[in-house]
Amino acid sequence: MIAVLPTLSPEVLIAALSVFVLSIFLGFELISKVPPTLHTPLMSGANAISGITIVGALVAANVAMEGGRSSLAAGIGVLALALATINVVGGFLVTGRMLAMFKKKER
C-alpha cells in the first residue's frame, strides 16, 4: 500500500508561520507578572498543555502493524502516545492538587 504523500502550498506554510510567531508574542504578553505562589503550578500546568503533542501521537499510533517498517512506526507511535498521556494526565492532576492546597489556605 503506497500512501499519498502530503503536499504543502506556500500560503499554508505562511499561515502556519504567522500563527507560530504570533503565539510566541502572545505567550510573552499573557503572563508578564506571576506571583511566586503560582510559579510551580504555572510550570506544571504549562507542561500539561505542552502534552498537546498527544494529538500527533494518536495519529502516529494508528498505523497498521504490517511489515517491518510500519510495525516499527506503530511501536514508536504507541510509546509516544503513552508518554504524552502521562504528561497530560499527570500534569493537570498534579497542578489541580497543588492549587487545591493553596485554595484551602486562603480562608
Binding site: 503560582l38 498505523v63 504528561n87
Partner: protein
Amino acid sequence: MDQITHLADLGYLVAAALFILGIKGLGSPRTAVRGNQLGAAGMFLAVLITVVQMQAEAGEGGVQWGLVALGLAAGGAVGLLMAKRVEMTGMPELVALLNGFGGAASSLVGLAELVRLAPEMTAADGDPAAGYALWRAVFLIGVGASSLIGWTTLTGSVVAMLKLSGKWNDKLGLPGGNAAKAVLLAGAVVSAGMLFGDPASTTWLVALTVTSCLLGVAFVAPIGGADMPVVISFLNSLSGVAASATGFVVGNNALIISGSLVGAAGLILTGIMCKAMNRPFKDVMFKAYGAAAGSSGSGEKRSARGYEADEAAMTFDGARLVIVVPGYGMAVSQAQHVVREIADELEAKGTEVRYAIHPVAGRMPGHMNVLLAEANVPYDKLYELDDINSAFSECDVALVVGANDTVNPAAHTDPTGPLGGMPILDVEKARTTIIVKRSLSPGYAGVDNDLFYRSSTMMLFGDGKKKLTELLSSVKEL
C-alpha cells in the same frame, strides 16, 4: 473528507483558545483553578476531535483502536499514579520528569512519522508532485528540530531529576566542558542536515538521536543545585518548543500554538529566576559556579559557636515579630510542618510570625510556597523579598531554616564576588538571627557566610527537623 478536516481544524482552534485562557488563568491566584480546568478541557476536546477524525477518515483497515487504547491506558494509569502518589517535597523531581516525557513524546511523534513516510519519500523524490518539495522541507526541518530539542529535553530532565533526588554522582558527566556541548550540537545539526538529504538513512537518524541525548546530559550535568530553578523552567520552555516543532511535522496548528505559548511562558519564568539570582542565563548554562569561586573558601578557618535549642528559644520570649526564612534545607529535612507548629506556638503567645520567601529558595520556582502550603501555612503570611526586607530591622528574631546564599551579606559587601549584586533577604538587620543548618559549609556559590560568625547570630547545628522539634518543645516551656 475535506469538510471533516476543516471542521476538525475549527475544533482545534477552540482547543487552542482554551489553552490561552488556561495559561492566562494560571498566572493569577484568583483564576488559577479555573485556568487549570480550562486547559484540561481544551486537551479533552483536542483528543476527542482527533479520535473522531481518525474514525471518520479511516481507510479500509479501520482505526487501530487496540494500539490507541493501549497507549492511552498505559499513559493514563502511570500519570494518575504519579500525580496521586507524589509528596509535595518530591514535586521538583516530578515536574522535571514530566517535562522530559513531554519532550520525548514530541521527538517520538516526529520519529514515527519519519519511519512511516521515509520509504515513500525516497520514491517520490524521483518524481515530485506539485507542492511536494515544500512539504518535504518543512517536514524534515520539523523532524530535525523536534528530535534535537525533544531528546535534549528528555535527557536533561532525567539528569535534573536524578540531581534533585540526590541520585546523581557529580563525577559523572561528559569531559570537555563547553567544547563538548558545541561538538554535540554541531553533530546533531549535521545529522539532521544529512537526514534532509536522505530521509531513509538509519545511520543519520541514530546519530541525530544519540547526539541530541548526549547534549542534554552535557548541558545539565555540570549545573549545580541552586541553579536548578533556572534549569527546570528552561526545560519546561523547551518541551513547549519541541511540541511546536512537531506541529510543523504533522501540520497541526493546535500543536504550533500551544507549543509556542508554553515555550514563551517557560522563558518568562526562566528570566524571573535568573533575575532573582542576578546571574545572566548564559552564566547558568556555561559557567559552573564552583570554578569561579574556588578561592574564596580557602582563607583562614573561622569557627562559629553552636547553641542549644533552649538557649535559642529564650530569644522568642516577649518577641513582637519573628520572620521565618526557609531554604532548601527545610525541603530536604521536610521540616515545614514543625516550622508551622513553632509559628502556631509563638502566635498563641502574641508574637507575629511572617515568612520571607526568596524567589530562588529551593530547587524549583515556587518550591517554598508549595511546601508551606502543604503545612497549612496561611497564604497571606508569605512575603516576597521586596515586601519583607524593610521589616527585618524591626523584627526580634529571624529564624533561618536551611538557607544560605539567599541571606549571605556578601551580596552587598563584595559586589565583585560570585554573589555580588544578587538580591538577598536582609536577615543581618534582625536583632537576633537563629540559623538552623547542618554545618558551616559554604552554600552553592562557594562563598563563606559572614552571618554565621556574628555575635547576633545563634547557630543550631544539625538536621533541620530534629533541631526545630527541640526548639518547639523549648518554646512550649517558655
